[in-house]
């Protein structure tokens, strides 16, 4: 089920109503059943894959409770093997097979391409990481294994965050299921606000930008200019930001309506003053996961054990470049089985390595200069990373990147005039909204009456736009990861 659909809003209405009425046990059954319905609405035959992951990790965690350290390690290996095998089969097998055959052909061994089709189960990358984090945390002794299977299943399958995160830790969610706060309309209204803004970002912003982005990336690289490459990088950067943050907003809002609080997954990432800053503002729950379960262990450094903070600590840590490149490369591949995603990860690793070298030399500059200069440098650097992320092939991505170094490629335009105008307007609007939030909003909020008027105007506008544009035509981009 997708969030920008009437079926989801109907399901949510039913679940929220029952959630506040039912006793504890029935509530858990409600969440688990609603989550399976939510998942099955896409393709019912992938529910068993999800359940295998849930059952294996619950069983492994129970066994760990009674084992010595050595056997616990083998149980952990068993869980990792099961989860990663499922992920490998569904997500990476075709990529691996295609590349192996290609490599063999390169060596002179003639092999025919294998023609088999594997459909990627929705959200498998997200729930696999969530279950892995649980088992690793039990192994590390950070949490006690959850005895109640339904409660554990609710943690893994909880529908607001099942298919595209945020990727949360068991200790953040499970206690919120067990200790439901007393009902307050505030939960409902705050949830509605989150959902409204999420839907606005998705159906009004992201879906309309996607038409321009798809059309732009469909042009043969030979015929696009360097200005087009920059424009498409910025345009897709905003599309994916609106799309994914929209999903996170709706997830946060849906959970909040049940009194469950999720941490923020995005925080104005394009206002970042450095790569370090970017990685504590972008997809925070994934970068925090990568930090705690990959980067810091590779560096043998103490983990933070929370889904907040992002990769900032990892960026600043004087870890080896090897672990940085492994981490970012794997994070790239997590997004999809394609060399373009690997390139995206490696690009970020290179940017962070350069940042580590430059950062000490900027400490003498004034705060204001560091802030403005930081944004001016970081924004285009981060936006350029989206080129391989969105490009149709590795060749296209490299071709587009090369264009920006060719002065002659700046002398013409290869897209409709509207694309440049809209990109410019979105960029300007983004900074205006940020300025408004940071500088104007506190002043408005200090005056109660004006605050209500402004907020009402905003909600009126957002509501009417959402109604006009509400269509379940496009999935969220992160559903395919």
């Amino acid at each position: 089920m997708i969030f920008n659909s009437l079926s989801y809003l109907l399901l949510l209405l039913i679940v929220i109503t029952l959630y506040w009425l039912l006793p504890y046990r029935a509530r858990l059954v409600l969440i688990f059943s609603a989550s399976l319905i939510f998942y099955g609405f896409w393709k019912i035959n992938f529910i068993p894959v999800l359940l295998i992951s849930v059952i294996v990790d619950w069983w492994v965690s129970q066994k760990m409770l009674k084992c010595d350290k050595r056997n616990r390690f083998f149980l952990l290996l068993g869980s990792l093997t099961t989860n990663l095998s499922l992920l490998f089969y569904f997500k990476y097998l075709i990529f691996f097979a295609d590349n192996s055959i290609g490599f063999a052909n390169l060596l002179g061994v003639e092999l025919d391409p294998i023609a088999f089709k594997i459909i990627l189960p929705l959200g498998i990358s997200f729930y696999t990481f969530q279950t892995i984090s649980y088992t690793v945390d039990v192994y590390r002794g950070f949490i006690k294994p959850e005895k109640d299977f339904i409660l554990f299943a609710c943690y893994v399958t909880f529908f607001p965050q099942l298919v595209a995160g945020p990727i949360l830790r068991a200790k953040e969610v499970i206690p919120q299921f067990t200790n439901r706060p007393s009902f307050s309309f505030d939960y409902i209204f705050i949830g509605i606000r989150f959902i409204l803004f999420g839907l606005f970002l998705k159906v009004v912003m992201a879906d309309n930008l996607s038409i321009l982005v798809d059309s732009g990336f469909a042009i043969d690289v030979k015929y696009i200019s360097a200005i087009d490459v920059w424009t498409l990088a910025f345009l897709f950067g905003f599309q994916i930001y609106f799309d994914f943050s929209a999903y996170s907003f709706i997830a946060l809002g849906s959970a909040r309506m049940m009194g469950i609080i999720f941490p923020n997954n995005f925080n104005f990432p394009y206002i970042s003053t450095s790569p370090k800053d970017f990685w504590q503002r972008w997809h925070i729950s994934l970068s925090s996961w990568i930090r705690d379960y990959l980067y810091l262990p590779l560096n043998k450094t103490k983990v933070l054990d929370r889904s907040e903070g992002g990769l900032a600590k990892a960026v600043k840590t004087k870890g080896t470049n090897k672990s940085l490149f492994i981490t970012m490369g794997l994070m790239g591949l997590w997004h999809g089985a394609n060399w373009t995603f690997l390139i995206w990860g490696i690009y970020h690793a290179i940017v962070i390595s350069i940042y580590r070298l430059i950062e000490p030399k900027t400490l003498n500059f004034s705060e204001r200069f560091r802030f403005l200069g930081g944004i001016l440098v970081t924004l285009p650097v981060m936006m350029l990373s989206w080129i391989p992320f969105r490009a149709n092939s590795l060749n296209d991505a490299l071709g587009m990147w090369l264009k920006i170094f060719n002065p002659l490629a700046y002398t013409w335009l290869g897209m409709r005039e509207n694309v440049y105008i809209i990109t410019f307007l979105v960029l300007i609007s983004f900074f205006i909204v940020y300025f408004f939030k940071v500088k104007i909003l506190p002043i408005i909020n200090s005056k109660k009456f004006i605050s209500i008027i402004c907020d009402t105007i905003l909600i009126t506008f957002v509501t009417s736009m959402v109604i006009v544009f509400f269509r379940s035509i496009n999935q969220f981009i992160y559903f395919q990861f």
Partner: protein, 381 residues
């Protein structure tokens, strides 16, 4: 203090939600739910006419209304060979229309009917050649096509969107077989169909429980809440206003020079060649023409680009040994007209694309003349 903020929250959300719905309801109640966006875009001076001959549809838009044209052809009991005319709004719009006027399509249809040919016209506003290619591939299985008439419009070489009612061709297996080896076909399949292919099926909504359930709720909601069904129109109105606003701010008018967009131009040129290949493979004769354009004032193109375009289209036609003619100067200035303003001012603007009924008569005669050469017909219209 905390409670206070929450109370403000509740108040503004409640009022905002209700006000948003209320204002939309008021605004949409003044909107004609039968509004035709094509007419809206053309302005009040220009009228769309999708012709009927003897109460049978012979001029359609795309897959949306094609079944009516198929019925029209079936009514010809002897399965007449089809003269297929694909084009843009020039074929279905009449400037300064008066009662009784008709476009070129029914006139040609009647001329050729005498020789037992069934002329079928399909046209869409700003139609590009990639769309024509898809439609042509789709129609090959549905009609016994004898001749294809294809205007190549410079303006439309800037377009490469495929409207949803033509994109549906990409779901038709027989059509896919015809196009999947060509440059245009591969590009369109990877752009629009790959979302539904196996490597990315998680992103596809077709054939999911979600899709069927969603359609049913959508339909029910539309029955109880009229605003829901008018949202298409509201979106169109909003985009229309933004378009006028953009033109006003940037000083864009109908006469503003439009530059060629190389990437899109090449795609459409490839589609032109793919259409010719498909036609020749199926032993269909082709007549390509450069359509009439208003020539008493400066055309809104860069002259070098426009001249190169005409030369290239002609050269390709010669290379493929198909019939080519330029009808650029066919319609004299008195048979052209003005169109509604393309910005927020009330001032009418020059219409370079759509001529009056007399222009359609001249076009019908010119096309008939060319077709009669191809089909070796003897009588004059």
């Amino acid at each position: 203090m905390k409670n206070n903020i929450f109370n403000q929250n509740r108040l503004s959300i409640l009022i905002g939600l209700l006000l948003g719905i209320f204002l939309l309801d008021i605004f949409s109640s003044n909107i004609d739910s039968e509004i035709n966006f094509e007419e809206f875009a053309l302005g009040k001076n220009t009228k769309t006419l999708m012709a009927l001959v003897e109460n049978k549809k012979i001029h359609c838009s795309d897959l949306k209304d094609l079944s009516l044209c198929i019925e029209g052809h079936k009514a010809d009991k002897n399965n007449s060979p089809v003269i297929l005319w694909l084009g843009n709004s020039q074929l279905h719009a009449i400037n300064q229309n008066k009662p009784g006027n008709e476009t070129a399509a029914p006139q040609i249809h009647r001329f050729l009917k005498k020789y037992n040919f069934h002329t079928l016209t399909l046209s869409q506003a700003n139609a590009n050649l990639q769309e024509h290619y898809l439609l042509f591939a789709y129609l090959l299985d549905r009609f016994p096509i004898k001749t294809l008439v294809l205007p190549i419009v410079f303006d439309d070489m800037r377009e490469d969107e495929i409207r949803s009612n033509i994109r549906r061709v990409l779901k038709d297996q027989n059509s896919l077989k015809k196009i999947n080896k060509t440059l245009t076909g591969k590009s369109l399949i990877s752009r629009f169909n790959d979302k539904d292919l196996a490597d990315n099926q998680s992103n596809a909504l077709d054939d999911t429980i979600q899709n069927s359930y969603e359609n049913s709720i959508d339909e029910k909601l539309g029955k109880i809440w009229p605003l829901w069904t008018k949202r298409d129109i509201l979106r169109g109105e909003l985009f229309g206003t933004l378009y006028l606003l953009r033109n006003s701010i940037l000083g864009i008018k109908a006469t503003t020079t439009r530059k060629m967009i190389k990437g899109k131009y090449i795609k459409n040129r490839n589609a032109y060649q793919d259409i010719l290949n498909l036609a020749l493979d199926n032993k269909i004769e082709v007549l390509v023409y450069i359509p009439p354009i208003r020539s008493d004032i400066k055309i809104p193109y860069e002259l070098t680009e426009y001249n190169n375009f005409k030369k290239e289209i002609k050269d390709i036609a010669e290379e493929y040994k198909i019939y080519f003619t330029s009808l650029e100067n066919l319609v004299p200035s008195e048979f052209w007209g003005k169109k509604a303003s393309t910005n927020l001012s009330e001032e009418s603007e020059v219409d370079f694309m759509h001529f009056q009924a007399e222009g359609h008569r001249l076009l019908a005669e010119a096309i008939y003349l060319e077709i009669s050469k191809i089909l070796q017909l003897t009588k004059k219209p």
